[in-house]
Symmetry: C2
Subunit: 333 residues, 2 copies
Amino acid sequence: MQRVAELAGVSTATVSRVLAGVPGATSEATAERVRRTASHLGYVVNAVASSLRSRQTSTIGLILADVANPFFGRLASGVESVLSRAGYSLLLANSGNSVETEAQLLRVMREKQVDAIILASAGGSGAHIREALAKGSRIVLADTEYPDLPLDAVVIDNAAAAEEAAGHLLDLGHRRLAVLTGPLEASFDRERLAGVGRAFAKRGLALDPSLVARGDSTFEAGKRATRTLLAAAPTAVFATNNLMCAGAITALLDAGLRIPEDISVLGFDDMDWFPIFRPAISAVAQPVFELGVAAAERLLEVLEADGPGAAPRRAVLETTLILRASTASCPPA
Amino acid sequence: MQRVAELAGVSTATVSRVLAGVPGATSEATAERVRRTASHLGYVVNAVASSLRSRQTSTIGLILADVANPFFGRLASGVESVLSRAGYSLLLANSGNSVETEAQLLRVMREKQVDAIILASAGGSGAHIREALAKGSRIVLADTEYPDLPLDAVVIDNAAAAEEAAGHLLDLGHRRLAVLTGPLEASFDRERLAGVGRAFAKRGLALDPSLVARGDSTFEAGKRATRTLLAAAPTAVFATNNLMCAGAITALLDAGLRIPEDISVLGFDDMDWFPIFRPAISAVAQPVFELGVAAAERLLEVLEADGPGAAPRRAVLETTLILRASTASCPPA
């Protein structure tokens, strides 16, 4: 493979991807050159690939913020679908939304000599990421980003998505809009909250801070936060992440409230059961699998560049506001 | 460190491992010589240890059958809660229910020199696990087991749990009971189906094979399988895993059927939204987090034993049949 790469004038990563038939691995002209060179050298793809498989494996690390959240499971599936076709194995790790653990895992990944890392970061100042970069780690961000760091990132436009969602509730007449948010350590949490603020501001309104509740992005946190918020008598709840939304729905039904007659509910990140729930739950749908795919594809490009590369790129994927039965006009006071 | 290594006649790697207290780094005599030399030279261990800590970490591997399934996310959380307290980092990998990928990942884990592996296996003959054991991997099984392999395992009594669940539906008068099952590669799938058969047999009945549908344990597979099964007019569905159950519910509601008036639904593995769904979904609840905890605790014992250890142990955790509103008496024909 080394020899094919030298003769074809590409990296070994390109050779393996071209020979594995990964679409878009490189230009068609280059791919053809690689295939011709390989066939010239009598490079038997299957045999070598299988011997490689048993002795030495190219591995990519993927650090997730919460492995117990199906969002990250789907993200990992997207990453894997690309990397496995390209002949890479994927090692995952879970920061459990802890920046300290994430720093530790970046070190573990370096020790284990993964070729590069896709990081769905728990957030923080980014000092730990800066350190990993200084020590030579190659990193692509997924989901979270750090505008101050020279890193490729694949994200959604969180502020715009949240603004549209909150704007929809405001346009339904809701003024006492409760907002459930994660710990605000990560860029997506902060941007979603900023988007909500923008929706209010654009309508000459102001978000009541006593109607904003933070939690650690778990089901239980959503339940707890909603119970507390009910004292402030909101007419709508915007849960800015999936598990907190599930917790919120549970707390509302436990409190004997009817959705949407008494209170509207809007979630962020669609879940399998949202469309079949009664009422079906409105939510901002993220292209989660595609986010993983795009991050992995960008990572393969970064590995290709192999050395002080091009300027970092930021890819922004589209979200969709899906309106179902859980959101309705504000009930009369 | 160089100087200690020279004087003690060992490599610097050995010095660092001995001073970091890594068990089995070298013979006890050599270790003692290294420690004496270090103390002689006034070598300050703490500084070294902390620099070591940032460079070398004890890691455990955890191979999951499907990272996109929240069951395995919760299992991973349980494993992590124990290992992080014990000072281990956890590297995860996803076989995506493929035995071939699982074999590949066992090799990757070995190359990456994890100290031991917790395996939530996708199943198969076990040849790949036998190979990993022969090459020195230390493995504890979680969720799936291989009675022929000398391995510790932490499991539930799948056959008994499924027998109780199916028996409940039979006792409600259902005879046309549809069963959704995973690919039957793993022990838990086979045992659950066997349990269903036992429930029929004990009542002098026989399970109609045309009412059993296999799928790949995903939401989509559950939906597809249920759509097909509807032609056979079942009065109850027992979905023997969580995502297929969600898919089954979706397919039933899409077909305009009322649960439980037209058809009863019983799932395996309780999910956050089962209790709040209308109707609330009946299911066999597994102690998933605790399964992870128990597997990790057993692994620490295995690591402790260090060497050809005691006979493998099998731990069986309790399940609970939770009856909610989705299961009711068989409607009159």
